[in-house]
Amino acid sequence: MIDVRNLVVRLGSPPQAVVKRVSFSVETGGSYGLVGESGCGKSTVLRAISGLNPDYRGEIEIGGKVLSPVRPKEFYRSVQMVFQDPYGSLHPRKTIGAQLLEPLRNQRLPRSREAVFEALTSVGLNPELRYRFPHQLSGGQRQRVAIARALILEPQVLLLDEPTSALDVSVQAEILNLLNELREKRGLTYLLVSHDLAVIAHMCDRVGVMQAGQIVEEVEADRLRAGTLEHPYSRLLLEASQQYGGSTEEPLTMNGAA
């Protein structure tokens, strides 16, 4: 469903390669996780796929078609993205209800009150929130509005950038269950960025570990669970995560702390 070949993205002045020959593919109905150090280029990969940054080299293919760097409107019918920073992706002066209807209007699809109700309820929000503006919501509520807006078009591919990092675990569990259900029922395809390896292990079939703009290791999620990773950086990441989420009651050992 998603095929990325030799993706190179150069940004800044002077331009520097932020993503360096990244290739991976996700089958239809599959779920692929991207993990790696902060600033290694994960969001940049997602932004290139979603058409937000047409200035890339390499090939991006979705549903068997190589995409032109500038995406036609219909593209967003089938591919939607949830941004890492929900505040930035919501319009500050439009109500939540209006923003949820916007994708439907852009695609000239029928808009209804029911659609808004359903979208909000599916992410555990009270439909009453549709009259509010983004700044009148809590961080996690905004994040869920962003997820609801991506789902309202019933896309085939979802690009999810840290979709639950602003959510408490109980709401996170509900959203992850919802995403898994949708994938099962509608055969959606996911590309998921998260720094939480437990979330990745729970949601994904395959995982790409990125470091400094490159995928340094790609494994089945089973290997992540079994803890048999090979690249030194992946092992470091996994060990740190295991220690972090570990059940021991000892305080975290923090290098540098006196």
Partner: protein, 284 residues
């Protein structure tokens, strides 16, 4: 025990003409310690932090029996007093870091500006610049020189959070309120940034309020934890005792965590019960 740094008694915050009760009779004190606040999305955590900083919108209704920071009554302090408190004496990291940065100013300049504002006599621009790079380095930004020159939209999510932390730390406040300061950081960087905060709290004898939904983080990083549900404090525990929490909400939270090594098909979710709102607080 020494006098608390922050003291709140029966704090209430309402929005929409009182229709939305975001915070209800919340009482706590902060000493020279690391105090965690956890709780469901929308339970009022950020609102508590904003009330202390007096950063709520004018439409918010704030009442309390007491809301103090050291010698300052936060309910009656003038706006001029608050300008001196905010940033300089109480540092705040907002939940949406990039949103709270000025979009048309390079991040390095913004941090330098904060420094010069609070330390006008500390050696001017050159000193500020050196201090900025030092701070960016301290929060584990690789290549601080490059990142200092970038605009907010050019930095990654995790860099944004660390820029905010650097901006808070550069003013050397007495109390830090950090609202989800590390949610966008991978575990290794997160631990390094936390150890920096930890060291500051200990070395300078500060108070830190850490608002987070990350149970592993508060359990192992904080001294005490407040658990909020629907605007109320439902439980206050020593962080090490979080595993023995009694409130059904807290116990449900602990069960909802996914794990790296065993796969479950569905994560357990909470069955919220209206009676939880009125459940009595169990103090430890």
């Amino acid at each position: 025990m020494t006098a608390p740094l922050i003291e709140a008694a029966n704090l209430e915050v309402g929005f929409g003409g009182g229709k939305i009760k975001a915070v209800r009779s919340v009482s706590f004190t902060l000493g020279r310690e690391k105090l965690g606040i956890v709780g469901e999305s929308g339970s009022g955590k950020s609102t508590v932090g904003r009330a202390i900083m007096r950063l709520l919108p004018p439409t918010a209704r704030v009442v309390a029996d007491r809301l103090r920071f050291q010698e300052i009554d936060l309910l009656t302090a003038s706006n001029r007093d608050m300008v001196h408190v905010r940033g300089r004496r109480i540092g705040l990291i907002l939940q949406d870091p990039k949103y709270s940065l000025n979009p048309v100013m390079r991040v390095g300049e913004q941090i330098a500006e904060t420094y010069l504002q609070h330390y006008p006599a500390a050696g001017g621009k050159a000193a500020a610049r050196a201090r900025v790079l030092e701070m960016l380095n301290a929060v584990k930004i690789r290549d601080p020189e490059r990142v200092a020159r970038l605009y907010p939209h050019e930095i990654s999510g995790g860099m944004g959070q660390r820029v905010m932390i650097a901006m808070m730390l550069i003013a050397e406040p007495e109390v830090m309120i950090a609202d989800e300061p590390t949610s966008a950081l991978d575990v290794t960087v997160r631990l390094e940034v936390l150890s920096l905060l930890d060291e500051l709290v200990t070395r300078r004898n500060l108070g830190l309020i850490l608002i987070s939904h990350d149970l592993n983080l508060v359990r192992r990083f904080c001294d005490r934890v407040i658990i909020m549900y629907a605007g109320r404090i439902v439980e206050t525990l020593a962080a090490s005792q979080l595993g023995e929490a009694r409130h059904p909400y807290t116990r449900g939270l602990l069960a909802s965590l996914p794990s790296i090594d065993h796969k479950v098909s569905r994560l357990p979710t909470l069955k919220r019960d209206p009676s939880w709102i009125d459940a009595v607080e169990t103090n430890s």
